[in-house]
């Protein structure tokens, strides 16, 4: 057990060091990719809060991502000089409120009904973004200028500089993922898991299933809102693609390929999918075909997703012979 802990600490230390030194170690184009990966990692973690921990599979999780994204774009468009962090907070709260409203109708359902109703809400928001041209500029989208970030002691950082944007994204994503991790350790987090396991028993123990799920759905929306906001700042642009079906299914792929049974599975899935997509799309324009093959392979041969390949038992078996164990 101690070795396992040591391995985790060493692994975490190396990963943290790599993330901190990444802009120095890798060329700028890869820093761009890494920033995007961080944003999607948070989005995938927020998604997995629902699928992995609550047992709810939303087909329309991009709705909250999109609400956060549009909130940021509209604030920057209409309110000049709005501080970045306050914009981020408002966008996250928009994601929270959006999820609260959608969740109010969705979380009383489960299984395919839940999945499809969440998709219906996402399509509704997509249609609003597409048709309400006066506000959203439809599928032409809106350009966004990356803001400056004032930090006491450090002065003003221009997020036009990709290295600064990378570090700011890293800190925000790390804090949000940490908050999610700690949240799952609380009684409310455990309540969500109990409902995934046996919803009837949980209600007979006095748990209000509707309110518990709504709370978690809203928190997930909050995190998705943050990732949506960061995505707009990174892309310097927002369009309806932030809340289309493709976006919803991308996050499902990330979480499933990475592994929904482990907290960091979706993070690994985001890393793998984005790097793989980056590589394969430079080789062929039919890259989705290969993504599909990877998805099928993982589902068939990597039980528990890619993170399942790194199980302690498997790692241990590499170093410890059968006789010793």
């Amino acid at each position: 057990m101690n070795r396992r802990r040591a391995l985790k600490i060493v692994g975490g230390g190396i990963a943290s060091l790599f993330l901190l030194l990444l802009p120095v170690l890798l060329p700028e184009v890869d820093v761009h990719l890494a920033t995007e990966i961080l944003i999607f990692a948070l989005f995938a973690v927020s998604f997995n809060l629902l699928l992995g921990y609550c047992g709810l599979l939303p087909f329309g999780h991009a709705a909250c991502f999109g609400v956060g994204a549009y909130a940021t774009a509209l604030i920057f468009k209409h309110i000049t000089g709005m501080p970045f962090l306050i914009t981020l907070l408002i966008s996250a709260l928009s994601g929270f409120v959006g999820a609260l409203i959608i969740g109010f109708f969705c979380v009383r359902l489960s299984g395919s009904y839940f999945a499809l109703i969440s998709l219906a809400f996402q399509m509704f928001l997509y249609a609003v973004a597409l048709k309400w041209r006066d506000v959203t500029n439809g599928d032409d989208g809106m350009g966004v200028t990356r803001p400056d970030l004032y930090l006491p002691g450090l002065g003003t950082l221009s997020l036009m500089n990709i290295q600064y944007l990378y570090y700011v994204t890293l800190v925000i994503v790390a804090l949000a993922i940490l908050a999610c991790y700690l949240f799952l350790k609380t009684p409310l987090g455990h309540a969500a898991v109990s409902m995934r396991e046996n919803v009837i028993r949980a209600s007979f123990l006095g748990y209000n299933v509707f309110l518990t799920r709504l709370a978690i759905f809203s928190f997930s929306g909050f995190l998705a809102g943050i990732s949506g906001a960061l995505f707009v700042v990174f892309e310097e642009f927002v369009a309806t693609t932030v809340m289309d079906v493709h976006m919803s299914f991308t996050v499902i792929l990330m979480a499933t390929i990475g592994g929904t049974g482990h907290f960091l599975g979706p993070v690994l899935g985001a890393v793998f999918l984005m790097v793989f997509q980056d590589w394969i799309s430079s080789l062929t324009k039919h890259w989705w075909l290969f993504m599909g093959i990877v998805f099928v392979m993982v589902v068939l041969y990597a039980e528990g997703g890619l993170i399942g390949l790194f199980k302690w038992e498997k790692i241990r078996a590499l170093f410890v012979s059968e006789k010793e164990s």
Binding site: L182, F183, K185, T186, P187, L188, G189, H190, A191, V193, S194, E197, N198, I200, R201, A202, S203, F204, L205, G206, Y207, N208, V209, L211, T212, A215
Partner: protein, 246 residues
């Protein structure tokens, strides 16, 4: 004092009539058994009392409050706890985690996000106490699904008790157990229900006559008789309907 009162309960599942005007009272501190042949409506009655089904007609009061239309979790929080005929636990969680999730609810920490569950001493101590009471200390960290059927029955009972309920409803707690396991679960029930009120549905007559202070006999969705075990034993009607002529 009657803590649970059912008045004229009817239940109709889209035309299939299961209960016809069931009225009964459960007195504080008693062990009240509900018996009857298969299909008599015993489990339906349990499901109606605990809020899983709503009655088509009639009224249920618990602690002088109308709970006829209350939701499951509200009834549970009032101090009414039940076990299930088919084991209903959290299969992938360990025995300890199963009990802990019930204790969290009991201490009203269901929506708490300011503390870590693994460091909440009050909840940990209480969960361990229940674990000891139920005699499952050795199985503390075993996933519930990996335990024997008999132990899962024990855990089912522990989950029912962990909220420290006022009224406990046990739905066939010995179903599927062998004679030895039945004896041990009956001993356990006796030990843990002290000072509480119990309603038990059971097919094993030895268990019923061993535990019950009063018995209600259901037949085809109606109350055939209510009385002490001796009265029920002596009732000709009950013999005809259920026990058979001895």
């Amino acid at each position: 004092m009657a803590i649970l009162r059912l008045q004229d309960i009817y239940k109709d599942f889209s035309g299939l009539k299961v209960l016809f005007g069931v009225s009964m009272e459960v007195q504080q501190g008693e062990c009240h058994a509900i018996i009857g042949p298969n299909g008599a409506g015993k489990s339906t009655l349990f499901n109606i009392i605990t809020g899983l089904y709503k009655p088509s007609r009639g009224e249920i009061t618990f602690l002088n409050q109308d709970i006829t239309r209350s939701s499951i979790h509200k009834i549970a929080r009032m101090g009414l706890s039940r076990s299930f005929q088919i084991i209903n636990i959290f299969p992938k969680m360990t025995v300890f985690e199963n009990i802990r999730i019930a204790v969290v609810s009991r201490f009203n920490r269901r929506f708490n996000i300011t503390s870590f569950l693994s460091r909440d001493r009050k909840i940990l101590e209480e969960s361990d106490k229940i674990l000891s009471l139920i005699g499952m200390r050795d199985a503390r960290d075993v996933p519930a699904c990996e335990m024997s059927y008999g132990m899962q029955r024990q855990l089912e009972l522990a989950l029912t008790l962990a909220r420290d309920p006022i009224l406990i409803l046990l739905d066939e707690p010995t179903a599927g157990l062998n004679a030895e396991e039945t004896r041990s679960i009956v001993t356990l029930i006796r030990k843990v229900i002290q000072g509480k009120t119990l309603v038990i549905v059971e097919h094993d007559m030895e268990v019923v006559f061993n535990l019950a202070d009063r018995i209600t006999v259901l037949n085809y969705g109606q109350v055939l008789a209510t009385g002490t075990p001796d009265e029920i034993r002596g009732s000709e009607e009950v013999k005809k309907a259920y026990l058979g002529r001895i």
